[in-house]
């Protein structure tokens, strides 16, 4: 059965090869079957081919091949042939009627379409059907991952396979599955040409981390000022002053008085009468008791630069050892961590503090100190002894570890610890620094 055929030169028969008297090929120049079929550009048909125009309805009909006997439709001609065999047709009809079939080309029924012109006919029926669906048909197939819709199922399937596995994405947002198209696009893409001059005013440093080009910005090397934390002997007055840009503002050297001893404030304790200093009920007592550790310790680690926070913490920890009640700071030593180079005392000080109610014990110590104004030199005096051994921390460790034997603090032990003073923390600094 054939639908309406448009009048175009030659017959407009579709369907199988039923017609016996097929158009004898007027043109002897039928294509010899080439070894490899060369693909023409789409829409440049063989000039000698037969042009067939189909109506949209016919084109989209799914069962083009119809058995003339029972009118059953088939999508494929081969299936129709198979079916026809069952009708026990006369032998001759089973044969392919003409040896040579003139090539057929098809035009798109849509008038506005470029393939409507016979010169741009498409050579394959399946092709024209797909074309018609794609261009002029309704898109019924939708990709699950993205929102792309397709009219042809095979297109949809092919897309689904590659959707989400795209390789390339331009900055402008376009996706590409092919490298060449991506590169081509990028070369001309506008998005890359934009200069985004927003955000920070800090110029990004293009640091090349390779060793052959350690381009640290100049300013950084300038910033690498070695301000040694207080306690480094070599650095006092050691302001690495000259020549370095961003100078570290060293605290005035006279912070600790004129002495170059460390802890300088010891001298200030001795020299300056500063009644306002420390707790008012007992300023003197506080100092004498070495609230800030033993003032007699003459370990002269010169420093005029302010102590680093780390050193202060260590010192605070050691201060506990100078107290008669080591439960405050001193217990820290009971928890020496494994010989790490980091200041164990300070560490442990903090450790103990975490589990000791600081307020209570601190107050204990502080109160004791306050009570021991002036005259009462019981412990404090003992505290002001100065072995000044740098290996103190190790001994301290050992002793405190011995604490776990439930031995209470004995005054003579206190003596040992008392000597720690601030220098101990610093000695740790000095020993660990080079």
């Amino acid at each position: 059965m054939s639908g309406e055929a448009f009048s175009i030169p030659s017959s407009a028969l579709i369907g199988g090869f039923i017609q016996d008297q097929n158009n004898a090929n007027p043109n002897p120049r039928a294509n010899p079957n080439p070894v490899k079929k060369k693909r023409n550009l789409p829409g440049t048909p063989d000039p000698d081919a037969e042009v067939i125009a189909l109506s949209p309805k016919t084109l989209m009909a799914t069962n083009r091949f119809v058995c003339e006997i029972c009118k059953k439709g088939f999508q494929r001609d081969q299936n129709l042939q198979l079916h026809r065999r069952g009708h026990n047709l006369p032998w001759k009809l089973r044969q392919r009627t003409n040896k040579e079939v003139r090539k057929k080309v098809y035009i798109c029924p849509e008038k506005t379409c470029v393939h409507h012109d016979p010169c741009r006919a498409l050579g394959d029926l399946t092709g024209i059907k797909k074309h018609y669906s794609r261009k002029h048909g309704e898109k019924k197939w939708k990709c699950e991952k993205c929102s792309k819709k397709y009219a042809v199922q095979s297109d949809w399937k092919a897309h689904s396979k590659t959707c989400g596995t795209r390789e390339y994405k331009c900055d402008c947002g376009t996706l590409f599955s092919r490298k060449d198209s991506f590169i081509t696009h990028r070369a001309f893409c506008d998005a890359l040409a934009e200069e985004s001059a927003r955000l920070t005013s800090v110029a990004p440093t293009t640091l090349n981390f390779r060793n052959d080009a350690m381009n640290l910005p100049h300013g950084f090397t300038g910033n690498g000022i070695p301000q040694f934390p207080s306690g480094f002997p070599q650095d006092f007055p050691g302001m690495p002053a000259a020549g370095l840009p961003d100078m570290v503002q060293m605290a005035p050297a006279n912070l600790f008085g004129s002495s170059s001893h460390f802890p300088g404030f010891e001298n200030s304790v001795a020299t300056s009468s500063n009644p306002n200093l420390s707790l008012s009920p007992l300023p003197q007592g506080l100092k004498e008791e070495g609230f800030y550790s033993d003032s007699q310790n003459e370990q002269s680690n010169p420093t005029a630069s302010p102590m680093s926070a780390t050193a202060l913490l260590q010192k605070a920890a050691q201060m506990g050892s100078t107290r008669s009640n080591p439960s405050f700071f001193g217990n820290s030593f009971g928890v020496m961590s494994s010989a790490s180079s980091s200041s164990p005392t300070a560490t442990n000080f903090m450790a103990s503090s975490s589990n000791v109610s600081m307020s209570a014990t601190a107050s204990n110590n502080l109160d004791k100190l306050m009570l021991q104004t002036g005259g009462k030199q019981g412990d404090p005096s003992q505290l002001n002894i100065h072995p000044g051994s740098n290996s103190f921390d190790q001994s301290l460790t050992r002793d405190f570890l011995g604490m776990s034997n439930a031995r209470p603090f004995l005054p003579q032990e206190l003596v040992k610890y008392a000597s720690v003073g601030s220098t101990m923390g610093l000695s740790q600094f000095t020993s660990s620094n080079h």
Binding site: T165, K169, S196, V202, T205, T206, N208, F209, N211, M214, L216, P217, F220, N223, G224, I225, P226, Q227, F228, M247, Q249, A251, F256, P263, L277, S280, Y292, P306, S308, A309, T310, L312, L313, A316, S324, N325, S327, N331, S332, S337, S341, S342, S343, T347, N348, M350, A351, S354, M358, S359, A360, A362, N364, D367, M403, S404, R407, P408, P411, N433
Partner: protein
């Protein structure tokens, strides 16, 4: 005698009472005039003492006392003073914030009009990167590990869990393009919350790649890391994957399910109370034993610390699932940079003490390398360090994101998650050391620990870098 003292002392007044006594002294004009007379070191020590006192009060819930301590600290602390003054300023702010959380309405009201400028945040990150070598060292080590792992690979895909600093990948692009076997096809997927940052990164990196003729593609993923949908990373078969995590993993430890979570944000009253009692009743020896058990540096075995168990069973659900997701991508390499401190103790005091040490080192470093008047330094200290401190001290539960842990813990955790350690190469460490030397500052130190690198300031470990592969 010693015992007598301790016992006699228990009943004595608290130091704060002493202070209040002083304020009544007639010869004192202002409440604490003597405070101003303190020299730097004394002031520093006093600040430490006050901080600890205040924290203890906060932990115990004695807000009045805490308030007095805060008042005193405020006389001494200052964000543009010396190291200890600066630290004290931020720590007290954190403590105050913590106290304020007891009144959620008040807290919210005070914070409701805060404006966080994205540009400022970005600037501060940049400043931290430039003023200090820590990130640079991490990048050097990461890149070197990537280069070595990707030898022979033609398709390299890198996932940056926090794509904020283009310099890292610029360096990698330069290194890869100079590879003897020719550059690979490089894909970098950058994850970040802010689109502008990713845009800038994309631009910078593609510019560099084009300059060096390296086939390159940047995939931005605008997402919070905790909400990351691993599917969006589009990891393809056939490409070699490397993951770079710089200071990102620890936030996955944040969760509300803490075994000994204190109801009030003020801290474990009971626990500290118990300790106090024990402290007072015990003699030195047993106290020493008690303290031996409670150590810092991440090894505290006390039962009330989530950090005591080798891997905290709580709070690690998010971490486990994230690590699992990463493991599922079969990365050839994963480089993890983390802070190397234990700031994840379950009690306030633990965390306070540990962070005092860590941030003392950081502030010392800052003091040693940048001028006191530098506004950049102030910004980094306030908006980076200060915010971290505030998070560590004032927040609890899921809000507390800065859950830094020691390298040992990370090693355990990653090992359990199915990653095998890849020792960082000698060459990489050499690079990094040279970088540090370029800073001309003795304070920076680098040491190797089980194939991982720890960057220290003086003796204090601050950051660790370790490399891992997916172990099947």
């Amino acid at each position: 005698m010693f015992q007598d003292e301790s016992s006699s002392v228990t009943s004595s007044s608290s130091p704060l009472q002493v202070f209040s006594m002083m304020s009544l002294s007639p010869n004192l004009g202002s409440p604490y005039p003597w405070l101003r007379e303190l020299k730097s070191e004394e002031r520093g020590l006093y600040l430490i003492h006050l901080l600890l006192t205040c924290a203890n009060h906060v932990a115990n819930g004695s807000l009045e006392n805490a308030n007095i301590a805060l008042e005193q600290i405020s006389q001494l602390a200052s964000p543009d003073g010396d190291t200890m003054q600066r630290m004290a300023a931020y720590f007290t702010e954190a403590l105050a914030d913590r106290i304020l959380k007891a009144w959620p309405g008040l807290h919210k009201a005070l914070n409701s009009t805060r404006i966080t400028l994205v540009s400022e945040e970005i600037l501060v990150r940049k400043l931290f990167f430039e003023l200090f070598p820590f990130l640079k060292v991490a990048f050097v080590l990461t890149n070197q590990a990537v280069i070595e792992a990707m030898e022979g690979e033609k398709m390299v895909h890198i996932i940056d869990l926090n794509a904020a600093e283009p310099a890292q990948w610029v360096a990698l692009i330069q290194a890869l393009s100079a590879r003897p076997e020719g550059p690979p096809h490089l894909r970098i997927t950058g994850i970040h919350q802010q689109k502008e940052v990713l845009d800038q990164m994309a631009h910078r990196l593609t510019e560099e790649a084009e300059k060096l003729d390296l086939p390159f593609q940047f995939n931005p993923v605008v997402s919070k890391l905790e909400n990351l949908d691993v599917e969006k990373l589009r990891v393809k078969t056939g490409e070699a994957l490397a993951i770079s995590s710089v200071l990102q993993l620890h936030s996955f430890l944040a969760s509300d399910d803490e075994p000994h979570r204190k109801k009030s944000p003020l801290g474990s009253k009971n626990l500290n109370g118990i300790h106090l009692q024990r402290a007072l009743q015990m003699n030195q020896g047993t106290f020493g034993e008690l303290l031996e058990k409670d150590t810092v540096n991440g090894y505290s075995p006390s039962p009330d610390s989530t950090s005591s168990s080798p891997l905290s069973s709580t709070g690690s659900v998010k971490m486990d699932s994230f690590l699992n997701a990463l493991w599922g991508l079969s990365p050839k390499l994963m480089v993890v940079t983390e802070q190397d401190s234990n700031h994840n103790g379950s009690t306030l005091m633990e965390r306070l003490l540990e962070s005092l040490y860590s941030y003392a080192a950081l502030f010392d470093c800052s003091e040693s390398t940048v001028s006191r008047t530098s506004l950049e330094r102030l910004k980094v200290e306030k908006m980076l360090f200060g915010e971290e401190i505030k998070n560590i001290i004032a927040c609890e539960g899921a809000e507390r994101k800065e859950r830094h842990e020691k390298l040992e813990k990370w090693i355990q955790r990653l090992d359990l998650a199915g990653f095998g350690n890849v020792p960082l190469s000698y060459y990489g460490m050499l690079h990094a050391r040279r970088l540090l030397q370029g800073y001309n500052c003795d304070g920076y130190k680098m040491k190797e620990e089980n194939g991982c690198v720890v960057i220290c300031w003086q003796d204090r470990p601050l950051f660790s870098v370790s490399a891992w592969r997916c172990r099947k």
